[in-house]
């Protein structure tokens, strides 16, 4: 009887472990997704901030290499 209980408990335990693992993985995925969405949702704000700092640093107006290459037909 005891042995059966232990076996059932073991089964329950490993199922619990699996579900915890799954939940961690889901949370991780969600946080990555959230982070990724922040990266892509507000890139301009971050870039604008960086550009304002560039002006303060006497660098003048900066632009991304991507924009420059597009405007010159190089990309």
């Amino acid at each position: 009887m005891n042995k059966k209980k232990t076996s059932a408990a073991r089964k329950r335990g490993s199922s619990l472990k699996r579900s915890i693992k799954k939940s961690i993985a889901m949370k991780k995925a969600a946080s990555t997704k959230l982070f990724t969405s922040v990266e892509f949702a507000f890139p301009k704000t971050r870039q604008e901030k960086a550009r304002a700092t560039a002006v303060e640093l006497n660098l003048g107006q900066t632009q991304s290499l991507r924009d420059l290459l597009k405007s010159t037909g190089w990309s």
Partner: protein, 609 residues
């Protein structure tokens, strides 16, 4: 944005052919040393122009020029690229732990958002590739003339690319993996582009004008990179530049009156050129002067400012640091040598390549007229190069004489180029002191460089071989090669460079804590060298006489010369001597005291009476 027409591209290639085939002084050397054939590549490019994209055309032009492995000889892209620089907002430098090289972030701009990405983090990967491999690949695209120079250029190009002469980065952003202590992290950075301003008092590295334009020896790209680093990471240095400019403006003061201002006991009146301070080492306190550039219009001003700041510092030894100095005005570099040695300076010789076009240039322009005869003789002699002459008569390199009498250690690296190579070669050839290199060679640029505009001015007119280039495109070309003097007489600097006496591998403490280990090493060398001193006071008295007091150290004999003629010789038993010079002739202008130790000239002082 307007693109180059097919005709304009052809015009650019034709002008490149004129420069490389008929003027480029290192062509025989580069063909031998690097097995390149730029002329055939240019002809092929001309043949295949049709259907080529704008980017492919510029890439091929840049590649032809960088494969010459010559930082002097460049294709300068037209607008808008001519003045643009692509950058990442941090700097990576290398340091050694034993024989292992690591790459460390040393400067971070406020533009960086990642709070963990700060000076001291170790870069391991770049876009997924090991950082050392990435630097190797970038270095191969750079023009450095030896392995050390290419590696150093590659490391600089990792985060800064002047688009006037470099291919733009292939990637629009980079993903950097780094170690912050034991933690491994990753950050992403976008390449940004901007137009840097120019420092006051310096020459435009891409198109210098004025009297100094034909005496330049400069790695233009290094000069642009230096400016960008200053703007990105050293706003306080920009503030100093502005303060000095303001002080100049106030009551329109000159350099001489300005120097009496207290501010200039700790700052140079040429803040873009010099920085200085005393340094403490376990072997004593020594003077430290960094020369960031020789790129100035006023070579005499640079020499006098050096004399002033060296006078403010300890006289028992000088650490003279020219690392990262891409050169500039050759006269500034060569004329500076005299203040560090009692020996007469024999300047380097400059040679043209013998071609009908260099002959024509010398025939039509008086300032290079002395080269004409030997180029014309080449028809009979078959010589590849002309006879060599210095830029100025020899007296101009010896018109001030020695002012610093302590021992000197010169610190070099692989980014020392052109005028700095010439300065370093002169330092070694005149046995001024020891050279401490962070690598086993300098950048190895031995030439005088002219740009296309200057060439057009030298041979103007509709029949000139130099035709206007479209949309601000240009070229720079090594036109006169330099050869060494003294024990290395006749040896070219190009590609060979100058080997240091000792090597100091840069440590982590050096890059993060102000060169502490480097100073320790330099201090040890200085402490092993003899210190000489020769302080002279002259008081003119009536009747054509003068009282002379000389305080000396490690000097046994003084020879006294008047107007460069021997007058008398005196032995010195104690450290000082007083004597009267009588019967001074009218017109006695120059008094020179030469101090000897064991029969060897050890110190010299010139006084204008």
């Amino acid at each position: 944005m307007s693109r180059l027409t097919s005709g304009e591209r052809q015009q650019i290639v034709d002008q490149a052919l004129v420069l490389i085939e008929q003027l480029y002084v290192h062509l025989p050397l580069k063909r031998a040393m690097h097995a390149v054939d730029p002329i055939q590549r240019l002809r092929l490019l001309k043949h295949r122009l049709k259907g080529m994209s704008e980017r492919a055309f510029h890439n091929e032009m840049i590649s032809i020029f960088t494969r010459l492995r010559d930082l002097h000889t460049n294709y300068v892209l037209p607008e808008p690229f001519r003045h643009l620089v692509a950058f990442l907002p941090f700097r990576v430098q290398e340091f050694f732990q034993g024989s292992r090289c690591h790459y460390i972030v040393t400067l971070v701009s406020p533009l960086v958002n990642d709070p963990y990405f700060k000076p001291g983090v170790i870069v391991t990967h770049w876009n997924g590739a090991p950082i050392s491999r990435v630097i190797e690949v970038i270095a191969d695209r750079e023009a450095g003339s030896n392995a050390e120079a290419r590696h150093a250029c590659g490391l600089e190009a990792l985060t800064i690319r002047p688009m006037s002469m470099s291919m733009p980065p292939d990637e629009e952003w980079v993903v950097v993996n780094y170690r912050d202590g034991r933690k491994k992290r990753e950050s992403r950075f976008e390449w940004e582009v901007f137009t840097p301003d120019a420092a006051t008092g310096t020459l435009d590295p891409l198109s210098a004008t004025g009297a100094s334009a034909h005496v330049l020896g400069l790695d233009a790209k290094a000069e642009v990179e230096r400016r960008v680093r200053k703007l990105l990471f050293a706003p306080e240095a920009i503030d100093v530049e502005r303060t000095v400019a303001k002080k100049y403006k106030q009551a329109s003061r000159t350099a001489k009156t300005l120097a009496s201002d207290d501010y200039f006991s700790t700052h140079s009146i040429m803040p873009d050129v010099f920085s200085f301070h005393p340094v403490d080492t376990p072997n004593g306190t020594f003077a430290y002067i960094r020369i960031q550039t020789f790129n100035v219009e006023d070579d005499e001003g640079l020499v006098h400012e050096f004399i002033r700041i060296a006078g403010l510092l300890p006289q028992n030894g000088l650490i003279l640091d020219v690392r990262g100095n891409g050169g500039g005005n050759i006269l500034a570099g060569e004329r500076l040598l005299q203040v560090l040695t009692p020996r007469k300076i024999d300047p380097e010789r400059l040679h043209f390549i013998n071609t009908p076009l260099t002959l024509k240039l010398c025939e039509k322009n008086d300032f290079i007229g002395q080269w004409k005869e030997s180029i014309a003789q080449a028809v009979e002699t078959g010589s590849t190069f002309s006879q060599g002459f210095p830029l100025l008569p020899q007296e101009k390199y010896n018109d001030i004489g020695q002012t610093y009498h302590g021992p000197v250690v010169l610190v070099t690296d692989a980014l020392c180029y052109s005028t700095t190579d010439i300065f370093t070669a002169g330092f070694q050839d005149h046995e001024i002191g020891k050279i401490l290199g962070t690598v086993k060679n300098t950048g190895a640029g031995g030439a005088n460089v002219w740009d296309h505009e200057l060439l057009s001015q030298c041979l103007p007119g509709p029949n000139s071989p130099f035709q206007a280039l479209p949309k601000g495109a240009s070229f720079r070309v090594a036109i006169r090669r330099t050869t060494r003097v003294g024990a290395h007489s006749g040896v070219p600097i190009e590609d060979l460079g100058i080997a240091p006496d000792e090597i100091h591998r840069v440590t982590k403490d050096d890059v993060l804590n102000g060169n502490v280990d480097l100073f320790k090493h330099a201090g040890k060398i200085l402490a092993s060298l003899p210190v000489y001193s020769l302080l002279v006071e002259v008081q003119k008295v009536k009747g054509g006489s003068a009282n002379v007091t000389a305080k000396t150290r490690n000097i046994e004999r003084l020879d006294i010369l008047l107007n460069e003629r021997p007058r008398e010789s005196r032995d010195i038993s104690s450290g000082s001597i007083r004597f009267k010079l009588t019967g001074l002739p009218r017109g006695a202008k120059l008094l020179e005291l030469r101090g000897f130790q064991k029969g060897e000239l050890a110190a010299c002082k010139r006084i204008n009476l």
